[in-house]
Structures are given as C-alpha cells and as structure tokens.
Symmetry: C2
Subunit: 257 residues, 2 copies
DNA sequence: GGCGCTTGATAACCTAGATCAACGCGCATC
DNA sequence: GATGCGCGTTGATCTAGGTTATCAAGCGCC
C-alpha cells in the first residue's frame, strides 16, 4: 500500500523505517482527471497530492487572460507542496489524463509533526522544485525561443526517461502548441515555427501528443540542457541506485555532512 | 545573541522556546562584503547564511557570459538554503556593501536533526522563496519590459518598507542598470529607456543607488504588484503583528490545520 | 594635469518574435 | 450534410526590444 508515495519521497534520501511505516498506514484516496481538468486550484491547502499517472502543469492565469506555466509535474511528483503552510499561489492542471492520490490536511499535519524525517523529505522535494524553477527562469530570461523550446523538450524527455516512461526516443507530451507557448513565454504562432525548425532539422518532433527525440545530443546542446537540475536532492552520498525506477544513472547525490 | 536569526525564522511562524534557545546558543561568525563581491559560490553547501545588512542577488552566469538574476535578498533572508541538501546551483553576490552571519554545516545539521521546529521554519522559508520565484517567472514570461520593471521596483521598495528600511518613498537600491537588465531579462539600453519613461511619467526614479517612489499606486498598477507574494508563510492564523520589524500590515497568514 | 575605467545617456539601425488574418483538417453535434 | 470548433499551418505586417556605437560625467590613480 502507498508504495508510490514512499518511493517518491524515498528518492529524496532514504526514509527511516518508522516514516515508511507511517506512510504506508496513511490513507490515500485516488482521483482521476481528464485532459485540461483543474487538479488543484489557487488558495487550496496541501493534501500531499501525488501525481500517480499522467502529466500536469503548474500555472497562473493573469488578469488579462494571459497564462504562465511554471513547471511540469511527472508521475511521482508532489504537486501541492506550495500549499503546505499557506494557500496555493498557483493552480495545477492536467495535461492529458491524470491520476492523483491524496491524503487529508489533517493527516498531513500529523505526519509533519510526528515524523521529522518526513518533513525533511518534503523539504528536499521543495528544494528540488525550486531548482527546476530556476532553470525555467534562465530559459525565460536569457535563452532564445529555439533554445528554450529545446530545453523544455529535453526536460520532458529526460524526466520521463528517468521514470522509465520513455523509450526508443519517444515519450508522451499531451500538450497543444498553446501549452508550450504559455510555458515558454512565447506566442502560439512562434512556437509553431520553432517546432517546424526542430522538425526540419531532424532534432525532435511533437505530434499527436507524443514527443519524438531524433537527435538528443544536438537538441541538448541547442537547449543548453543540464540533467543535474532535475535530480532529486538527497541527503545521502552516492552509493548506487536504490530503486531502479527512480535512479537515473548520473544524478548528483549530496550529503549534509 | 543571534537575535536577528531568531527573528528571521520567527516570522515564518513562531518558534518553540526550545528552538529559540538552541538558536541563541548557536555560534555565528560575521563576514562583510563589498559591493559586487561573491558571497556564496556555486556548489557550496549551506552554512545557514543570514543576510544581516545590505542587499544581495541570487544569480547564474551562463556559458556565454550572459547572466540571469533569480531574486533579491533583503536583510533577514537566509541566502544559501538552496545548498541545504546538495551543492548550491547558483551564486549569491553583494549588491552594495553587505554583512552576513553564518554558522557551520555541522552545527546546521545538528540543529536540523535535533529540532523539527527548526526544520519546519526552514521549510517555510524555502516555500516563500519558491513563491517569489514564481512571481519573477510571470514577469519574465508574460509582462512587458515596462511592467516587469515596475514590478521589480515595487518588490524592492515593499520588502524594505516591510523591514523599516524605507521611508518617505525612498529606499536603497545599489544596482547599476546592467543589474536590472540581468534581473529582468532585458538589455542595458532598454532598461535605460524604461527607467526614463518611469522617470518622465513621475512614477519612480533610480539614481546613485537610491530608489525614489513617486507614485506608488500607479507604479503598483503598472507592475501588477501583489504584496502577498512576499509575505512569509506562517503556520499561525492572523493574530496581529508579533515583531514590529517584521509584520507588514496585510500579509496573509495561513494555518496547516 | 592627463589617463583609464565605469556608468549613464542617446541615436541609428536591426531582428526576433508578436499580431493579425486566412485557410485546412478532423471531429463532434444537430 | 451542414455547422461549428479546436488545432495546426502559413503569410504579411508590425513592433518591442536588441545591437552597436558614440559621447559625456564622474572618479580613482599616476
């Protein structure tokens, strides 16, 4: 029971046995969402929502209808940690069909209070998210449209590859062009042109919700992609993969010692 | 002793007495930095560095020499939390003269392990930082040069006002135009144009490292500024200001209950 | 004094990307 | 089978902002 949740937190540094036990006894309900559905709204508090299947985006929509996407969630990600101590300042929306597990704020609070090891794992998850945000900011501020698109496609592929959700150079990306535009701070028309360049140059193609990577090396170079950005921040020095599902080969593990 | 550190963490929700005692017994050394100096470099681990005086920026410099600034640090901010569980993925640089207090990774680790309340406060600080980053992303992705500049100036003024470091509509901002450019993802020349518009329109002016707000309402409207973004995330429901220095009137306090 | 160096100011020109406007296609609805 | 709609595609045009260059003011330094 709750294996996914435990595995998810575990990749941020091994949980103590007591925490694992507590987590496995934690009641989780499952919800499913269809493409485009709102998973969590602004102002909501954290239910320790775990994305179990599918892809989701964190986003804000501004007063004038413009939208900015802050980041991507892949299976295993906790998507509402931003609502841990205050109302969520963004919303989470399903990109394609999603399955989400969640507990209750009460149970979450109890776990936080009873198990410091749990809180530490959450803290690491938040730090990892903040790091991904910084990469996103570099894209928005200092990379060309072509480069930041390449970077995003690399992120999408890499993260799913890490989860064994990608193979043979292709993976799911159930996003329409306007989703990419709002993620990258570009217009829909321009995203289309950028995608065409990537396609014509034989780097990658996106069609019918599946992303096909054709030349990883050139794409990664073009997008200035650094896998380390997305590696979980663990407390443990590198001692090889723990759970095959969640151990990309070259993630950097660190220690607080 | 260590009053500043305690007050800093305290604004994210009151610390338990035991944690306060632990913190007040914690050894802190003081360093000073001149304008432009590197306070923390990439890859370093957290020393629980606290900015005691001055302004600093979190930034990355890319391979081609371009720079992206991710955020601002004002007195009371912990500036190296990103290096808590892994090497820091950015650097922190002094904007004007700075004073920084720090402890040692060892002592930090001990505090994390011994005092869950301390870890919770750190976690809230990290969440607050992530929220500020999201606002920054909205600026970079979806606001015009004029609007995002206005937003940044509002942030600078608001945060210092909150700390009683601003008065009569002016505060310190020891940044040159290229600093603003790298913060906002613009070119130096264009920042200059934008500043001239703001000056000509009587909204704000920046000269010799001091920022003068001339029309807060119009500036905030132009920049789409929301003070709540920068309020600390507290565990406590609103029951009035605790420390006068750190209690802006309208911050939103939340509860995990 | 002159000599660098940094920063601000401004002008001339250029381009990446936005905006506007079509059109086509698949697909659901009636 | 018409009608709409979401999405992709493309061209034409516009503009926000980038690039390059120049000049002046301030300032430490020899």
């Amino acid at each position: 029971m709750n294996r996914l949740l435990i595995a998810s937190l575990d990749r941020f540094g091994p949980l103590r046995e007591s925490v694992r036990e507590r987590l496995s006894g934690c009641s989780l309900s499952t919800e499913t969402f269809e493409s485009g559905a709102l998973i969590v709204g602004r102002g909501e508090r954290s239910h320790l929502r775990l994305l179990a299947r599918g892809l989701a985006v964190k986003q804000t929509v501004l007063g004038d209808g413009a939208r900015q996407i802050f980041g991507l969630a892949t299976p295993g990600d906790l998507i509402d940690l931003g609502g841990l101590f205050a109302g969520l300042d963004f919303e989470v929306r399903a990109l394609g069909a999603c399955e989400v597990r969640k507990t209750t704020p009460g149970e979450l609070k109890a776990m936080v209070q009873d198990h410091p090891g749990f809180l530490a794992a959450v803290c690491r998850a938040v730090l990892t998210e903040a790091r991904a945000q910084r990469n996103w900011m570099v894209s928005l501020g200092r990379r060309s449209a072509l480069s930041r698109t390449a970077n995003l496609l690399c992120e999408v592929y890499w993260r799913q590859k890490t989860l064994a959700l990608a193979e043979d150079g292709h993976c799911a990306l159930p996003a329409v062009q306007s989703d990419l535009a709002d993620a990258l701070g570009l217009s829909v028309v321009h995203i289309h042109r950028v995608l065409r360049v990537l396609r014509d140059d034989g780097l990658a193609r996106l069609r019918n919700g599946v992303l096909q990577i054709q030349d990883w090396d050139r794409l990664a170079a073009l997008g200035d992609f650094e896998p380390a950005v997305f590696a979980p921040q663990s407390e443990i020095a590198d001692h090889g993969p723990r759970t095959p599902t969640h151990a990309p080969g070259d993630e950097r593990r660190g220690s607080i010692d």
